[in-house]
Amino acid sequence: MATMIEENGPSTHVCFPLLSSPSQARQKLEGLLNKNMRIRMTDGRTLVGLFLCTDRDCNVILGSAQEFLKSTDTFSQGEPRVLGLAMIPGHHVVSIEVEAESLEDDQGFEGNH
């Protein structure tokens, strides 16, 4: 599987590492992989799921995602809808949150600042 990805993203190897920041950013993001993430979308819905994948345009793939409607909606609010694997296009991402506990477990994001 890993080889297949490398074939699809050859620029990783070709690019010249000008700054240290790109790899630092990468490390940051890698630290978030498989963490529970909550993403709010432009239409007000929120998805909660495991962070699996992202790219330069901030398109995010969540695993085992659940969909929650906006809080103002009174109807069918109780139960989330199970979506499974879901990709949120970057331009529809309004906010991203990560679960704090899992963050602390292995000195995640803040540590890098």
């Binding site: 990805i5 990468r26 993001l29 239409d43 909660v48 992202t54 109780g78 990560v98």
Partner: protein, 732 residues
């Protein structure tokens, strides 16, 4: 930079929807800014991902905010409150009593439309259950509406059960999910039909009381009420008849099928008055311009949006009321037609019935009803005949094998009985599946026919062994008789029929390209139909041999009837042969295929067949793919590409024929087909359909042979409108 969102006030709102286990550690940290910043550092095209997650997995993700994939999106963009039944009652958005007649008529008609849309393959949640009333009929106080809601639920429930039981549907045909809705299971079928009948009687009284009397000044209001009552009465009665018919189908007795046929015929009589009274019902307040669903009291198209799985056909377009009656009348026609299957007693006849029924591409409900009528729960055909007996009858009808003849010593021989019984019981399942295959939709049938050939190849092998064993037994007991290739011939006949159907259906489904036609038609004419005809004539001669023996026996026994017997013998020689029609038709088909084959070769010679640029494949690859399912069959052996090329090589003729010769030969084949078909006594529609292709092709081929438009570079057209399998060739 880091914000603890737990302190934000809107978080309480989020918490509401989050399950307990998440709520317990709901310390969410906002990282939007950092995340987006970090993403920007990635290279174009680079994916940041876990080792265990790759592009392959990513492919199956649904894309949010894409209206084609995101079912949750639609519900979120509508600017009205989506209410469920209880909420709608509470808010007064929906009436549960004192509904006006136009309201009732409108609601019922819309429900009918939903029912039809469901039968056409959409989900219940997006069709019938967009009607809030059926969510909980107990809350309805209006008796007519309550009875109707229960009735429609029962119709759905029985239809669903039938379709599930028949198992001749695929995801594109039917959605069986009920999404946890109750299908009126707490009320018996009898109670529901009773309620409908009560409502009907009540309405009939109103219809009578508002009817115009002689010499009375007609009040237009009364007249309108009369019309509306009548409209409602017809709809309730139609629902009851449809439901009763479906209930009747679940009964085990064969006579119940006739009863069901009568019931649907009665229902059909109501369709015309229903059609003419559609305008009495309230219409939806149309807001469809914005792509939104029409809004109607009692209906909320989005009420179940969140019940749908993430990847789902998002939008079920409910059919128009104007089309509703036409659909129902076609459905009833199909149901009436399928009931006739019980008049057919021969297995071959039944198989033909299924083939013919399937040719009109019937809906999933009628296909399923036909299946469940054929094989009732007790695994008996029409609930009365054992499949094994049907198979024995079919064998007797087709090849008259000595082992199944009452006049043969094998008939009462234990060993022979064991052989034949075990063979017949092994045949039972493949033949049931063959009939089931014909219940599937046309496209799926082809695929399944390709697979069932494997089972028939096994049967073929067994049939040959049983034939040999029975023959050696018979040689000891009655040396003057033979038992060679009887059962084998019968299985081979079915093998060939399946293979032919498999190839021909490719034309119907438009799978073949023009440059492939020539080897498909070659395979059919030179190989499959040739085999089929020799198989049929072998069966025919086996029948004749058996009849002779019977006659000899009779003659020897009663000498005093010698004179009359002699007369009978003459009669039997010119007597109608059961297989003659099929032999004739096969000859006609073979000539049609041969004509098409030669046409294609000649057109190719004249450079009038566009061929693909073979890069990664070749003609051989395509050929082998087209005939791949035949590799599992031993008899007839598959013709491999190399063999085909050798057999069809024109250089073996001296001198090799040119395109003109081939056009002429094709014309002769079409001519021959025409001759054969015109001599068929009592021609059926199929005969006329083939003639419609043969006649113009004779002329076109003659013209082409004479060099007509030889120089034109325009490709010929193949018009399959007259016949599914044979085109009219058009030179432009």
């Amino acid at each position: 930079m880091v914000m603890k969102s737990a302190v934000e006030d809107d978080d309480s709102g989020w918490g509401l929807g989050i399950p307990e286990k998440m709520k317990s550690n709901a310390n969410w940290v906002d990282i939007t800014h950092e995340f987006k910043g970090a993403c920007k550092e990635l290279n174009l095209g680079e994916l940041l991902h876990d080792k265990l997650f790759g592009l392959f997995e990513a492919m199956s993700a649904i894309e949010m905010m894409d209206p084609k994939m995101d079912a949750g999106m639609i519900g979120n963009q509508v600017n009205r409150k989506v209410l469920n039944f209880e909420q709608a009652i509470k808010e007064g958005a929906i009436k549960v009593k004192d509904l006006s007649l136009p309201e009732l008529i409108g609601i019922i008609d819309t429900c009918f439309c939903c029912l039809i849309t469901w039968l056409e393959g959409h989900s219940l949640a997006q069709t019938v259950f967009t009607c809030l009333y059926v969510h909980n009929p107990d809350l309805i106080e209006e008796p007519a509406l309550k009875a109707f809601a229960l009735g429609i639920l029962k119709v759905c429930d029985i239809a669903r059960e039938k379709v599930n039981k028949a198992a001749v549907f695929e995801e594109e045909d039917f959605q069986a999910m009920t999404y946890g809705f109750k299908m009126a299971n707490n009320v018996t079928d009898l109670r529901v039909t009773g309620m409908l009948k009560d409502v009907e009687d009540e309405l009939q009284r109103k219809v009578k009381s508002t009817r115009s009397r002689q010499g009375e000044q007609r009040n237009p209001e009364v007249e309108l009420e009369h019309q509306q009552c009548l409209a409602l009465f017809n709809r309730i009665k139609f629902t009851r008849l449809l439901l009763t018919a479906l209930i009747t189908f679940t009964k085990k007795e064969t006579s119940s099928v006739c009863e069901a046929q009568k019931l649907v015929a009665q229902a059909a009589d109501l369709l015309s008055p229903i059609h003419s009274s559609i305008q009495h019902g309230i219409q939806s307040q149309n807001d469809t311009t914005k792509g939104d669903h029409p809004i109607m009291m009692g209906f909320e198209p989005l009420v179940n949006q969140r019940l749908l799985p993430p990847t789902f056909p998002r939008y079920a377009k409910i059919i128009k009321r104007e089309d509703m009656v036409a659909y129902f009348s076609k459905l009833i026609e199909r149901i009436k037609a399928l009931c006739d299957v019980t008049n057919t007693t021969n297995l071959h006849g039944i198989l033909d019935f299924f083939c013919e029924f399937s040719e009109q591409s019937p809906c999933v409900l009628s296909r399923s009803l036909l299946q469940t009528t054929f094989l009732i729960d007790n695994k008996k055909v029409f609930g009365t005949h054992l499949m094994q007996d049907m198979i024995k009858d079919a064998l007797r009808y087709f090849v008259s094998p000595p082992v199944l003849s009452y006049k043969c010593c094998l008939f009462n021989n234990h060993q022979a009985k064991d052989y034949i019984d075990s063979f017949v019981s092994h045949c039972s399942r493949p033949f049931c599946s063959l009939i089931q295959i014909h219940g599937h939709n046309r496209a799926r049938q082809r695929d399944k026919l390709g697979h069932i050939l494997e089972e028939f190849a096994t049967l073929q092998d067994e049939a040959e062994k049983v034939d040999a064993a029975l023959h050696s037994l018979l040689m000891k007991l009655e040396p003057q008789r033979q038992h060679l290739t009887c059962l084998g011939t019968w299985i081979l006949y079915h093998n060939l029929r399946i293979m032919i159907q498999y190839l021909l259906s490719g034309f119907e489904l438009e799978l073949y390209s023009m440059h492939e036609y020539y080897y498909i038609y070659w395979y059919l004419s030179e190989f499959l139909y040739a085999w089929l005809m020799s198989t049929l004539s072998r069966a025919d001669s086996s029948q004749i041999a058996e009849e002779r023996i019977l006659e000899e026996q009779l003659k020897g026994r009663s000498a005093q009837f010698f004179f009359t017997k002699k007369q009978n013998k003459n009669v039997s020689l010119i007597k109608f042969r059961p297989l003659s029609k099929e032999i004739t038709m096969s000859q006609a088909y073979q000539n049609m295929c041969a004509g098409m084959y030669k046409t294609m070769v000649a057109l190719d010679m004249d450079g009038k067949v566009r061929k693909p640029q073979f890069e990664l494949d070749s003609e051989q690859v395509r050929y082998e793919h087209r005939f791949a399912p035949f590799n599992s069959v031993v008899t007839p052996p598959p013709v491999h590409y190399i063999q085909f090329k050798e057999m069809s090589d024109l250089k073996k003729y001296n001198p090799p024929p040119g395109s003109a010769d081939l056009y002429l030969a094709a014309s002769k084949h079409f001519q021959q087909a025409k001759l054969i078909l015109e001599n068929v006594p009592s021609p059926d529609p199929e005969v006329n359909r083939i003639l419609k292709v043969a006649k113009p092709n004779i002329v076109v081929m003659k013209l082409l042979a004479g060099g007509h438009k030889k120089e034109t570079k325009v490709l010929p057209e193949f018009d399959f409108s007259a016949h599914k399998y044979f085109p009219v060739v058009k030179i432009i």
